[in-house]
Amino acid sequence: MFMPGERKRPGDVSARNTETGPSNDPDSALLAAVAAGDEKAFAGLVERHYDIVYRVVWRVTSGHADTEDIVQEAFLKLWNNPSQLRQGAALRGWLMRVATNLAIDRARRKQASNLDDQPEIADSGPDALDQVLGDRSATDINSALARLPERQRLALSLVYFENMSNIEAAAAMEISVEAIESLLARGRRALKADLKDRWRDLLADIGGMSQ
């Protein structure tokens, strides 16, 4: 379970890519209560899932300021029509799917109207300031991630940054495990190709030169 305020980092070794999804289903009771209009139960679901949905949407939108609004919209879809989902085990994947679809739709609408083409970094406190001013490597990597196709970025976000299993990520994206593997491999390859001119410098900066 992911507690509010807790941040999973890619280096975490606690999460493991297992072949099975979550074995328990603590969200089912909360979902049933939400279906009866229980605001406390809805608050419980928000507490359990808000952060991970926010992080995934933030990565899919490349840190756009709309992130919070998109996440709100996804949760409100559940609140306004809770009967569309009965299995608690499917909730997290459902929320991510709805939220990322909303994010992708918004991005495409904005591109189509030629308004606000450039990603706008959401105000997220000191980290955002560091990102802009202090850490060029992180900025370059984030920019390269933002240039990846949406589905490759989403697959990397779920499996790499959120430590979801391949099965969980495949369920969230409604694709096969093989398709997830393909998206991950292409995403990683494209990231390296995009950053090829700076690759050695980046690794030197990180301290991870392999040769």
Binding site: P10, Y54, L195, D205
Partner: protein, 153 residues
């Protein structure tokens, strides 16, 4: 062995160098072969390091509270009526009146059916009634339709 190496290359390319991210069912088998592919392992590790350097989002303070406030303003319309014990007896009384009325109507129609059946009431009524057939459409095909309609002169 070639199949194992091919699969190891695929897994490294997709999931990176950390076996913790690999599919659990294949982990042990692939880990045994990992030393045979030092170059692939190093390349995967480099990409892992670069990804780990990416900026992480910070959840804005109060974001969940703002969502809950918005949800409070947009309560879903429920199809559930709150249970009211005071209305329960009233509902039962109303139901009993209606159910007695329906039972009486059913009993009356049952008695009427028995009466009509046992007295051959419909047959007797039929004997005394004259059925008039004067519709040309009904009579079409009958040889003496014209005579029947115009009457014998």
């Amino acid at each position: 062995m070639d199949a194992l190496k091919t699969r190891l290359a695929e897994v490294l390319a997709a999931y990176g160098a950390d076996p913790a991210r690999w599919p659990a069912a294949e982990r042990a088998r692939l880990q045994a072969a990992i030393q045979s592919e030092p170059q692939l392992l190093a390349e995967a590790r480099e990409i892992d390091l670069v990804l780990a350097k990416a900026a992480a989002p910070v959840i804005p303070a109060g974001a969940a509270s703002r969502l809950l406030a918005r949800a409070g303003q947009a309560r879903p319309a429920l199809n559930v009526v709150p249970f009211d014990p005071a209305r329960r007896g009233q509902g039962q009384r109303q139901r009993s009146i209606w159910s007695w009325g329906a039972a009486a109507a059913l009993a009356a129609s049952f008695a009427c059916g028995i009466f009509l059946g046992t007295t051959n009431f419909a047959a007797r009524l039929g004997d005394s009634e004259v059925v008039e057939i004067d519709d040309p459409i009904v009579l079409t095909g009958i040889d003496d339709a014209t005579v029947l309609l115009e009457g014998e002169s």
